[in-house]
């Protein structure tokens, strides 16, 4: 089955910001891995909610609250279907991937990890999938173990397997590395962990914008992602958790909505997922995420994946031709993220010169300092592609890098 091709020029018209200028030049946006731009449909959905259907959810008996609640809960169902989860109650709305991981660390992790136990992560984590586990391990007297990666940025699966020991209580790993672009063989890694009775959390922040994710096929215990990297608003994210885990877990934060009844003597907690959703959530944000999911589903995730892959190959070829450029992260399985260094210029200088050409790239350690340490560098420049990226963007980047050489060579 061949996926329908994306009509890129039509797709680009859906994103108002792509019609704007940067430094007086047409915007070349190559930083979607940091945060993706938003289609008009997402913006409209949020404006429409605030203009016509907004009230607090799960509270009022009046029509507006009913509409607001329906729009909010409809998104939960969209997320369930988007992730291939079995039940909507397995979908918890949070502020983002970071909060999702913190939720699991402080609720599931605290209950499960004790003194002498181990939590296993990989060397390619974003800080958000390191620090919550470090905090948990410090609190409990447990040890954080790190599965190594090889020179091209692939996880060394045999080493990962060896580190799965009798004391391993939890594994946390990224589906796709934000700094290297590596796509991990999550299904295989989950199988190996489960064979030793260890549950797995997957940081899916960089995966969902590029490929179809099926949590039941992966069989992971938890899956986290952020709306803002999926063309939705910032401030909203999703934690998927298997119902059996979520039900057994203590609440994460206390407050309204997460309770069934409260007295000063005793509080009865609400059912999942509401048990984990204390306080009034980002209602419009969740509705915006729903519109983002509708948007990518309408384009087709297979078509998006094919487009991203084809453009990644084009960009990899084009950047390989740039004199003095070294790609950091060249795993055989990669998402559309290209981290690189130049022999003549520091990433910041690259970023500043590209910016003068209207080209937005990320420069720095990408919240993944251990990855930088692994390669003996302090920073990289990173170009990341999304469904609205095109060959012209890559060509502009290559031309911009020639300007960098002009200044520094």
């Amino acid at each position: 089955m061949s996926a329908a091709r994306l009509d890129i020029e039509r797709v680009r018209k859906d994103f108002p910001i792509l019609q704007t200028l940067a430094r007086g030049k047409p915007l070349v946006f190559l930083d979607s891995a940091a945060s993706a731009q938003k289609p008009q449909a997402v913006i409209d959905a949020m404006v429409d909610l605030y203009s016509r259907s907004y009230a607090n959810i799960h509270r009022g008996v009046y029509e507006l609250s009913e509409r607001s609640t329906a729009a909010f809960e409809a998104t939960r169902e969209k997320v369930r279907s988007f992730l291939g989860a079995a039940e909507t109650r397995e979908i918890v709305f949070v502020r983002g991937t970071t909060e999702a991981i913190n939720l699991v660390a402080s609720s599931f992790g605290r209950a499960r990890v004790g003194e002498g136990d181990e939590v296993l992560i990989t060397h390619m984590e974003h800080h958000s999938n390191i620090v919550p586990w470090q905090m948990l391990c410090d609190e409990k007297g447990a040890t954080l173990k790190v599965a190594p990666i090889d020179d091209d940025g692939s996880l060394i699966v045999e080493e990962f397997e060896k580190l799965l020991g009798p004391h391993t209580k939890l594994v946390a790993l990224p589906h796709v590395s934000n700094a290297l672009g590596t796509v991990n063989p999550v299904k295989d890694l989950v199988r190996r962990a489960h064979a030793k009775g260890v549950p797995v959390l997957v940081d899916g922040a960089q995966a969902v914008p590029h490929q179809r994710v099926d949590v039941r096929d992966l069989d992971c215990d938890f899956y986290a992602f952020s709306s803002h990297k999926l063309f939705g608003p910032s401030g909203v994210g999703v934690l998927y958790g298997k119902a059996e885990h979520l039900e057994a877990m203590p609440p994460y934060q206390g407050g309204g909505e997460m309770i069934l009844s409260v007295s000063f003597e005793k509080t009865i907690y609400n059912e999942i997922p509401h048990k984990f959703e204390a306080g009034t959530p980002d209602i419009a944000g969740v509705v915006g995420l729903g519109a983002a999911i509708d948007y990518v589903e309408a384009l087709g995730l297979d078509a998006i994946a094919a487009h991203d892959h084809e453009l990644l190959e084009y960009a990899t070829g084009a950047l390989s031709e740039v004199p003095g450029l070294t790609l950091v992260g060249t795993a055989p399985e990669k998402a559309a993220v290209l981290s690189f260094v130049l022999d003549c210029a520091h990433p910041h200088d690259i970023g500043t010169i590209l910016d003068q050409e209207g080209i937005a790239v990320r420069t720095g350690h990408h919240c993944a300092q251990p990855v930088m340490q692994r390669y003996g560098i302090s920073a990289t420049a990173r170009a990341s592609l999304a469904l609205y990226s095109r060959r012209e963007d890559v060509d502009a980047l290559v031309a911009g890098l020639a300007k960098v050489r002009e200044v520094f060579a």
Partner: protein, 150 residues
Amino acid sequence: MSDLRELYQTVILDHKKQPRNFGRLESANREADGNNPLCGDVIHVDLEIEADEVRDVRFEGSGCAISTASASLMTQAVKGKTVAEALRLFESFQRLATSDPSQEQDTDGLGKLAVFSGVREFPMRVKCATLPWHTLRNAIEGSGNVAKTE
């Protein structure tokens, strides 16, 4: 490219390629580390201060052209100065790099350091230029804190 040429002046490119006073200083009696958590740039400054004078200074670290050149030019500027003079230079440099781009710049007394006058047009890069100076001040004041640009 005019703003860029203003930022990346020849002197800055020269100091980036061949940083002066680079490395550790055996005779150091003060030192400090600096880092820019935003980007991961790190710098170490060694100082030898005798009788209230900066006898010698060296720096080490990895950073962009702006921060490397700023550190290099800084070591040249403060060597042989009294501690009070070095701290006054810190103040003047800070003003130069952070002043409002619409205002006239005061480069009096800054000498070669005036090549960083273009930095204020690039708000995201000001910290690159000032990190070495913050680190120097921490070394002088012996606070033992890691200098941060945040």
